[in-house]
Symmetry: C2
Subunit: 754 residues, 2 copies
């Protein structure tokens, strides 16, 4: 969510060549299967403000085993940033692309020196978001490393630690991570634990690390931070017996430890399992991968799983960079949400009650303010089998606060960002025909949430909008609640709840109350109906003393995906609307204010692709009779806001959302209004895309006359018949078929695609 | 119970002087109170086969914090033997005077070197009873020590460890032990744990040692050995934070560990609490002594408690050696049984059920085959308040096997030795008027036990005796069951159970079936009524292929305390009886056989004072009309079988029994038949003895004309009136009063005391 307004420098050739080498050097040939993992470069997004991680994970896996630089600063939200040259360990829970740092739990660091543990205290630096290396630099076990001896591919990560001269390899199964450490010949072999280490807001509150048997450590690390009640239980098993295990405590907490091993051979193998419930569950999770330490086998399985996951969309192109951007993006859409429940179905709720043996897989890391826009819609195509369980998870979390999730981290409600977009996600899934959850129960949760007094809903209900003099970010909040209301209304309608339908449909028109025709922007309105006298559409103030969330009026005035025609009608004319929309992209990129939100990034005029409120905007042209301007601007964004370098995302990747935007836009389909179940069509980046849509069926998008310059759709047919309008329905896609888009260099100004 | 047949060398003057110095050098003046602890030398019994320990304990305390030599051999049953010059640590549970080694749990050893923990495995040597130092000598943390820098006094022990140059001081409260380690200036300060270490039969099965907080370790050590199911939970707290805690595991067990501390000052203070139930209970026990580490205060309290305990019998003498022997003996009568329940009343039964919040203090270490003879009878005088709780404990243990205790170690039935003498202990207590337990419940447990088929009772019931061809030690078992039956009969009578009384009284005459008039010894009889054809009254075979337990026919034929007149009637005449009895003391001390019981020791002729079956025998003269021979032989035993050196007991001290014999005999009273509630009278070793008998009353024994040569009672008056017979009743003693014994150098052959 947070991005500095920095212009991205495109990658130098030197660097790019290096990346390519990495992803191919670790591949083995797999003749029967498409080898798509070769196109994934997990380093993309690890530089600039992408905030992704290079470590190993499985599709929607429980674990993300990844290197940690040990810096508490904004660009280290995942624990790792490409600009760094120091590694302090390898953690097992990692956030992908978020704007707030947390996790990095259960960190292991191989070492060949005996460490003074008393030196390793509760390391934590709240000088956020300034870069702080003060504490990190005190750690005696850190090591330098070089990107020239670092490899990442889906499910596998390798780095050579230069100081202890240890080669580290990481791979993972769904619930068990595997490490392979190769020490220098004859060197002392040990592993250092520093569970007191925490990044950003995180405060460790309880840390235990106990040896269970000769080869096994168990323990737990509780912390409060972004997730208020995070309880991570873990089991760590080594292939060699621990000869000595050394710990240091502060108060009742193990803040550091070191385990020693014989050095009879150079390799030390480790496996790690976690649980939110108990160390016993962690051990049970570990047992799902059997007894041994088959590192190479697990790595091969991870590769296979990723190939299968990536096969859901097969794009054809001779441009390897494009495929790298695309498959890395698709990869990033499948690293979150993450599996949260244990192998036996247990998982912990924020109030410490345990859901026992759930008959579904529980997921967490719901970055809903971001992901309701494109990530969740994409999952309804690529991973419909997981969507119901994500909703079941949301309903489980609902039981704690009687409010649906806003932003769920490790089962905790963080209440980060605005809106109740789980309402949109559930409505969309239900309206798209996803089943496997109790729709009536879900509906009651959605309604109870939207009828509650939480997070400004009391004001919204009382005034019909959120007055700016009562609550910050009032414009964004009002627009987003209006959208959530609309989604709820559609679900009510589908369930035959006519009265609710009318009520929420009416509420969903709240956006109209904040449109100031005198400025043609959405604008803060006071409780007594007066426009906020202080108004500058380019002004931003981050999160406080502002009517807009991480943005300004230019970026936030367009959020009416549910009723574009009604929105357009607020303008003097459709042309007035499209002119304004065009101006968004052509205005100067100046953002005014003393405390501009760092999340405003990826600017094209005032359009800010680096943050989510802009994501649907280019598609509004489709609805305003100028689909060629959608085609133009989307093509422009696709080509300028993504690249193959570590700086390849123009803002926080945000748990798959930035990538999902790319994946969908690049194939020519976009869920401008997710719960409408329609996808707006634009010109694709590939001559041919084949999507697996289940039951052996495929949906093919053919771009005739595809070329770099032919960015305009001249003609569109679905299964041979001319396509009406500018969109296609989810149902049409899932039935399988072929969408043929004839492209040309000149805009088709018919107002439709034919 | 076990003693080698070694003639004791009396102490050299040099050593004695040293002992005296030790016990006085650690004393402070206590003007108001009698300073009796000055006469206690805890080293007495730590040499030869006494098997006592020199460490610190409280009267009947839960903990015995004591040095451990680390040798698995018979003379190290307490973990410490005076002959050794190596110490490997300081344990918290220690057996006093037993013939089987166990405990030595929760051992701490201060160190100034970093130890290779992998070297410290499950140290255990079953080459019992040979002395084995092989494993001990491999330990890297052991230290030499010298008796010239070692001190012991009730509740306090000190030793200087020569190798690490650490002075160790130990003291204890009832449930919390305190250590004070003074390290060399600037030396590394650490404590080594080696919970895998075990002595003799003990097999550790589960060892955990976890750091709970900066200053605290908790854990448990489970083992199976003499006690089949020993579960010791513990908490160890240091006054300094642990800077590092290092552990080594084998399988799932912590077999060694080392905790490190800063060396900012030379002293490290430690406190340790134990529980049979849980580490939480151990922590609760620890909390009973508050938060700090008031070593000197605890030591002063222990001294005070011991002075109060020793004041129960005040003997007057100018002979300091005699007072040292006496008060050390009295001290040893109060180190066992030991407190077993936690401060909150919880304790663990052998079957792992937990008695919760018992409204009595539970005791364990019931060496009943030894202690029913004199130790328990003595406690009815000195500690009547504890007797009921000991019986309550026995009734709790009864619940596990539905059999009353034989030999209880840490709540476990070890079934060591013969008989069911808890029956005798309970009957005696009840008949003496001890209340505070459910007599009917106790009676039912006693009857159920004696009516069971356990441990030869099936044979005993079927044949009226235990046939030698059906079970080893048949003569001893028969005689002891007959005595237990008699005790049970007396209790039945008191409770008005006339039929039971007759039944058990009849059974108690079983001894008559094994008396062979042709040899005038008790003799093995077969199931078909034939005498064992192999008969040599001086022959001994240890525990197997023998009709006698740890002895021979000479020693075992006299156990008819319940019916001495009936026993005498089996002889041709009373003279024949007394001649035979005299011969016991005057026969040659030759013991025949290839596997002579090592417990036969302290021989005077064939009389073996070093083992318990002899203990009542000298008092049989009283009943046979020759009280002057009781006076003569008891005086002889008192003067020859006890001294002030570490070799001061002529056999295993046996949890207070050897000492209780001394205490009672030395004041002139002996419970020849405990449940008769009568004490046989003999000539005392002190001119005046004052016993506190409760409610502010005293019972005084005055020996007129007391001198070393005047060992014969000429006249006896009780409260001024001539005493009838040779005994006095418990009731007479407890009413308070004065027994005056006029002594002379010539025997009074009247057959009475007047």
């Amino acid at each position: 969510m947070r991005i500095r307004h920095t212009i991205l420098a495109l990658a130098g050739l030197l660097f790019f060549t290096h990346c390519e080498k990495k992803t191919t050097s670790t591949e083995e040939e797999n003749a029967e299967k498409l080898d798509l993992v070769q196109y994934v470069d997990p380093f993309i997004g690890t530089g600039e403000h992408g905030h992704t991680y290079p470590g190993a994970t499985m599709p929607f896996g429980m674990l993300q085993v990844s290197p940690i630089n040990g810096v508490s600063a904004w660009d280290w939200c995942s624990g790792y940033h490409y600009s760094d040259s120091i590694i302090i360990g390898f953690g097992h829970l990692t956030l992908s692309g978020t704007g707030i740092g947390d996790l990095n739990d259960v960190k292991l660091m191989p070492a060949s020196i005996t460490v003074d543990l008393a030196q390793l205290s509760v390391g934590k630096d709240k000088q956020y978001p300034e870069k702080s290396t003060a504490l990190r630099d005190m750690l005696p076990y850190k090591s330098r490393y070089s990107h020239s001896n670092e490899t990442a591919t889906p499910g596998y990560y390798q780095v050579f630690l230069e100081d202890p001269k240890i080669n580290v390899e990481l791979t993972t199964a769904k619930r068990v991570a595997f490490h392979r450490y190769t020490y220098a010949d004859g060197a002392e072999q040990s592993v250092v634990f520093n569970p007191g280490f925490a990044i950003n807001w995180d405060d460790p509150t309880h840390m235990r690390l106990t040896q269970k048997d000769e080869n096994t450590l168990i323990g737990e690390r509780f912390s409060t931070g972004w997730a208020k009640n995070q309880k991570v239980f873990f089991a760590i098993r080594f292939n060699k017996p621990i000869t000595e295990f050394k710990t240091h405590m502060q108060g009742e907490n193990i803040t550091s430890a070191q385990a020693f091993f014989n050095n009879e051979n150079k390799e030390l193998l480790v496996k790690v399992a976690l649980s939110s419930v108990s160390t016993d569950n962690a051990l049970q999770n570990m047992a799902t991968e059997g007894e041994g330490f088959p590192f190479d086998e697990i790595r091969d399985k991870a590769k296979l799983a990723w190939n299968e996951a990536l096969e859901s969309i097969n794009v054809e192109s001779d441009n390897k960079d494009l495929k790298t951007i695309f498959y890395t993006a698709l990869y990033h859409t499948k690293v979150a949400p993450v599996t949260f429940s244990d192998a036996n179905g247990d998982f912990r709720l924020e109030n410490d009650s345990i859901v026992k043996k759930a008959n579904y897989t529980a997921y967490s890391t719901f970055s809903l303010w971001d992901t309701f826009r494109t990530e969740h819609p994409l999952l309804t195509i690529t991973d419909p089998d997981k969507v119901a369980d994500m909703i079941n998870s949301m309903l489980a979390y609902y039981q704690v606060n009687k409010l649906l999730p806003v932003w769920t981290l490790y089962g905790n409600e963080t209440n980060t960002m605005t809106g109740y977009h789980s309402v949109a996600v559930i409505a969309e899934a239900y309206l798209k025909g996803v089943r496997g959850f109790n729709a009536e129960e879900a509906y009651q949760a959605m309604k109870a949430t939207m009828m509650s007094d939480a997070r400004g809903l009391d004001l919204y209900k009382k005034y019909g909008y959120v007055p700016y003099d009562k609550l910050d970010e009032s414009v964004t909040i009002t627009l987003e609640y209006a959208y959530d209301d609309w989604c709820l209304a559609q679900m009510a309608k589908k369930l035959g709840k006519e009265e609710d339908y009318k009520y929420f449909l009416n509420r969903s028109m709240a956006y109209k109350k904040l449109f100031d025709p005198s400025v043609e922007f959405m604008r803060g309105k006071s409780a007594d109906g007066q426009w906020n006298p202080v108004f500058d559409p380019k002004h931003s103030n981050h999160r406080e003393h502002t009517d807009y969330t991480e943005g300004n009026a230019w970026q936030h005035s367009w959020f009416v995906p549910q009723d574009v025609n009604g929105f357009i009608a607020l303008f003097p004319s459709k042309e007035a609307f499209t002119n304004k929309l065009e101006n968004l992209f052509t205005e100067s990129s100046e953002i005014t204010g003393d405390n501009v939100s760092v999340d405003i990034s990826g600017l094209i005029g005032q359009y800010a692709h680096g943050n989510e409120p802009s994501h649907h905007i280019a598609y509004l042209f489709n609805k305003a009779g100028q689909p060629w301007r959608t085609q133009y601007w989307v093509n422009h964004i696709l080509k300028t806001q993504y690249n193959t370098t570590p700086e390849g995302y123009s803002g926080n990747e945000d748990c798959g959302q930035m990538s999902a935007w790319y994946v969908m836009s690049a194939i020519g389909l976009y869920p401008m209004n997710p719960a409408s179940t329609e996808y707006e069509i634009t010109s694709p980046m590939f001559a041919k895309t084949t999507m697996k849509v289940g039951q052996g069926k495929t949906f093919v998008i053919e771009a005739k006359n595809f070329s770099d310059k032919n960015i305009y759709i001249q003609k569109a047919t679905l299964n041979g018949k001319p396509l009406q309008g500018t969109s296609i329905s989810h149902e049409q896609i899932m039935q399988g078929g072929t969408l043929v888009l004839e492209l040309g260099a000149e805009p088709n100004k018919s107002g439709s695609l034919n």
